[in-house]
């Protein structure tokens, strides 16, 4: 729809160079004026005041021990360095006289600013336009914990954290070949956030890689603070509530996606990874599927699909049956519903909408409150409000049961994003069912199928593998020795994955 087309907008050129200050200690200090964490100090090489260098860094971004041990100690104690001429001293420091692992020669203020932002310190040499930057960043970060949103019963229990390099290391530990490519892009004018694109060379589709990188490069925003800051800029369409990229907290699931030919994206500050392109079958699979028996995994997948239909259609079916097609309800159930509804003053649609909205309110309240209180509110709210509404004859018990079943069925979705999309469509389908009964419901479902069929993620139909001739593979988890082909991401290369 036109209102969701990406606005080409007004020119918003990136200023080049970003910082106009000269590459000098004073220039940096000017750029960082009123920044209490910017530090500058003079250092005498070998204790000689004639050989004074200037060290600059951002406090908190660097690890103090590294600066002291790897930078300051050799500067103060290395006699060879102290005796060298300035030109020689620069070359020695760049090539190993300082013990730091990383040493970069920089010539522009923009480069130095980027290095400072990631935790480097800068050494200025009197009379030279070049400077040296040394990465001495702190590694203070949240320790690797369990994936709370994707719990594991059997299998790996590590989860992505907010540190990009830690995340890439977790991936690299699982996929150790150099064909695992990791390319970095800096996104955000104000945040300079590194975003890494990962793929398996020879397996992933190069066009997809290119598209992903092009979209990330095209992002000209202030910064990335939330997952949406990245997702909404790289997906194909904004006029859908359905997730077009799959996200995961689990490195093992992420690596599985890479091996299947998908392209991964990791972002500094985000404890999750994205797998592209996103197809509908991904949102019904979990990492647990491959840890258990294939029959059980298939049964659970079928159950998830069934629950998807239940959560989407049950309230609408109830409204349609009670309002338009009572003959389709079994006799004794119809009599029970009829008896209960005789005391309820509201139409079935109103009852269902009341309960659906109450369900959403309780869920939202539970999420916003601290854990234990949130759970209490959810449980008490559900029990008290539900039973009180039935007692007060505001809703009939059947509505309460239908809405509760629909809500609980939605929680079986492995992807919360997908479940949210279903919640949204559920309201629409319920309203349509109240207008036209089963006819309205069927029309709504047809509209949903049409909508899904029109979606693409990086050139791949969203309804893959059901529209690419691999219907069975989308639902059934075959025994792993029989899964000899990488599924679901056409057109991937090197399709065979085992003997």
């Amino acid at each position: 729809m036109a209102i969701f087309d990406r606005e080409q907008g007004h020119p918003h050129p990136r200023k080049e160079p970003r910082w106009t200050q000269p590459l000098t200690p004073d220039g940096l200090q000017e750029a960082y004026r009123d920044c209490v964490d910017f530090k500058r100090r003079e250092v005498w090489v070998g204790g000689d005041p004639e050989k004074t260098l200037t060290l600059c860094y951002v406090e908190g971004m660097v690890r103090n021990e590294r600066v002291s041990d790897y930078i300051l100690r050799p500067l103060a104690q290395d006699e060879t360095l102290a005796r060298a001429e300035p030109e020689r001293m620069f070359a020695m420091m760049k090539n190993g006289a300082l013990y730091n692992l990383y040493a970069q020669e920089r010539t522009t203020t923009d480069q130095v600013m980027s290095d400072l932002a990631i935790g480097s310190c800068v050494i200025f040499f009197p009379g030279r336009s070049q400077v040296l930057t040394f990465f001495t960043g702190t590694e203070e970060k949240r320790s690797i914990g369990q994936p709370e949103n994707e719990p594991s019963i059997k299998g790996a229990r590590d989860s992505f954290v907010e540190s990009l390099r830690t995340n890439t290391a977790m991936v690299r530990r699982r996929v150790r070949v150099p064909e695992l490519r990791i390319r970095e892009h800096i996104v955000g004018r104000q945040t300079l956030t590194p975003v890494d694109v990962l793929w398996m060379e020879g397996v992933a589709d190069p066009d997809t890689v290119e598209r992903v990188e092009a979209r990330i490069d095209a992002m000209d925003i202030d910064g990335i603070q939330t997952t949406g800051d990245l997702e909404e800029y790289i997906i194909d369409r904004l006029d859908t509530p359905f997730p077009l990229v799959a996200s995961t907290q689990r490195p093992d699931w992420f690596c599985g996606g890479l091996l299947a030919g998908r392209v991964g994206v990791l972002c500094e500050g985000q404890p999750m990874g994205w797998l592209l392109p996103g197809t509908i079958d991904q949102f019904f699979k979990t990492s647990q599927d491959n840890t258990g028996n294939w029959l059980m995994a298939t049964a659970l997948r079928l159950l998830r699909w069934l629950c998807m239909f239940i959560t989407l259609l049950l309230p609408g079916l109830y409204v349609a049956a009670v309002t338009f097609h009572p003959e389709m309800i079994p006799v004794k159930l119809a009599m029970s519903i009829s008896a209960a509804k005789q005391e309820v003053p509201f139409p079935a649609l109103f009852e269902v909408l009341i309960m659906l909205i109450a369900f959403e309110v309780l869920q939202e309240a539970g999420l916003r409150l601290p854990g234990p209180i949130g759970q209490t509110v959810s449980i008490l709210g559900g029990l008290v409000v539900g039973s009180a509404a039935v007692e007060a004859r505001i809703v009939s018990p059947a509505v309460l049961i239908a809405v509760a079943i629909a809500g609980i069925a939605g929680y079986t979705m492995p992807s919360q994003d997908f479940a949210n999309a279903l919640r949204l469509w559920r309201f629409g389908l319920t309203v349509l069912a109240s207008v036209g009964g089963l006819l309205g419901l069927v029309l709504g479902v047809a509209a949903l199928v049409r909508h899904l069929a029109g979606l693409e993620s990086f050139g791949v139909p969203y309804l893959s593998p059901f529209v690419t001739g691999e219907q069975v593979g989308g639902v059934v988890r075959a025994p792993l020795p029989f899964e000899k082909w990488r599924r679901g991401v056409p057109p991937e290369r090197n399709r065979r994955n085992q003997k």
């Binding site: 309002t323 009572p326 006799v331 008896a339 005789q342 009964g437 089963l438």
Partner: protein, 379 residues
């Protein structure tokens, strides 16, 4: 353009302009969900009596109206009471004897044409009474509960074989005959399982429908003979008094019937019906000796054979093949199917029907005593 058309369609539907294209909404709380319909002959045509079931402490609602046609009476019922009368859950229909004798066609036609109704409705004929009396006999409990129980009993063999409107209609469409269960309206008494009214409904055998009209009722042994020949036995009890010995009760468990047409000079002259019956000793005063078991088996075969013969005689007397013998004969001699079909109507009454019964009585688990064949029972 497509989008404009879609929006226009949606808005027209939502605004009510497209109401004709949408189903009509009605809240279930405002409905009286009918379960039972009764049809009788009335002075001006038809009397329709309907009833809901008792639900959640609310007494059953029974309404009655008359009209020149069933559809008219149904419309008249709609104006009664304080709820919308919904026919979508009607699954029981009672036919008064007089109406059945005049013809069940109008009732079936209404069931077939009325969108809320269907042909899955179970049928009963009220023997010697009116359907309206039977419906009102349900009292506050409502007659549907009693009829539900009769359906369950039929499945258990404790009541007559059921018949749906669809089955009756398909039989009548072939010009054949059939029998549908009959009910008797009897005064209620303690212990009869009635619903608290002054009268109660009891199984009353079968009503034979030929060419769409009631011709006779089958009761007692004739009704049991029908069930045996239809292979629909459900455990009826046969009491046998041994000569100078104990009384033995048998539970009949299975009936397996085969029917062979007999041709002489190319003409159909008779039928040989063989019926293998299985029964189990349900009660006896002492353990039966092998000789006594043989005697029991002989008596069992004789008794059940007489029942089948009684049913067959009635069938031939009324020239109503409600047992489906033509179909059985055709199935056993497919090559003579056309010949049988050609002469059946003219020759059915004059056919010589021989019945052979083979009884198998099981006196205890795992010990089957095969009965002795005693030749053919009187045919």
């Amino acid at each position: 353009m497509k989008r404009l058309a879609a929006w226009t369609l949606l808005l027209s539907l939502l605004s009510g302009c497209g109401r004709a294209a949408l189903p009509y909404a009605r809240e279930m709380g405002d409905m009286a969900l009918l379960r039972t319909m009764g049809l009788d002959v009335a002075q001006n045509g038809v009397e329709l009596t309907v009833s809901t079931a008792k639900q959640s402490g609310r007494p059953a609602l029974a309404l009655s109206a008359t009209g020149p046609s069933v559809a008219y009476a149904a419309q008249a019922v709609q104006s009664l009471g304080d709820s919308y009368v919904f026919y979508g859950h009607v699954d029981q229909m009672l036919l008064g004897e007089e109406l059945a004798a005049r013809g069940v066609g109008p009732a079936l036609d209404h069931l077939a044409r009325e969108p809320q109704l269907g042909l899955g409705v179970d049928l009963w004929v009220v023997q010697g009474g009116r359907a309206s009396d039977a419906v009102f006999a349900g009292g506050d409990e409502g007659v549907p509960a009693r009829l539900d129980q009769l359906e369950v009993d039929a499945g258990l063999g404790a009541a007559n074989i059921g018949c749906t409107a669809l089955r009756l209609m398909s039989v009548l469409a072939r010009g054949a005959s059939t029998c549908i269960p009959a009910l008797i309206l009897a005064p209620a008494r303690e212990g009869d399982g009635g619903q608290g009214g002054e009268q109660t409904l009891l199984p009353g055998g079968y009503a034979v429908i030929r060419e769409g009209k009631l011709v006779c009722f089958l009761q007692g042994d004739e009704a049991l003979g029908v069930e045996l020949l239809q292979e629909q036995v459900g455990g009826h009890i046969v009491d046998i008094d041994l000569s100078g010995g104990p009384r033995v009760s048998l539970r009949v468990e299975k009936s397996d019937v085969s029917c062979e047409p007999v041709f002489q000079d190319g003409e159909l002259t008779g039928l040989n019906i063989t019926c293998a019956l299985s029964a189990r000793v349900a009660q006896t005063e002492r353990t039966l000796s092998p000789g006594q078991l043989q005697e029991v088996t002989r008596a069992f075969e004789l008794l059940e054979g007489e029942r089948m013969v009684a049913a067959l005689e009635r069938s031939q007397y009324w020239d109503a093949d409600f047992l489906g013998l033509e179909y059985w004969a055709q199935q056993s001699s497919p090559s003579r199917k056309v010949d049988i079909e050609r002469v059946w109507r003219e020759s059915f009454r004059g056919l010589t029907i021989q019945v052979e019964v083979r009884g198998y009585v099981e006196r205890s688990a795992g010990m089957m005593d095969e009965g002795v064949e005693h030749g053919k029972t009187p045919g």
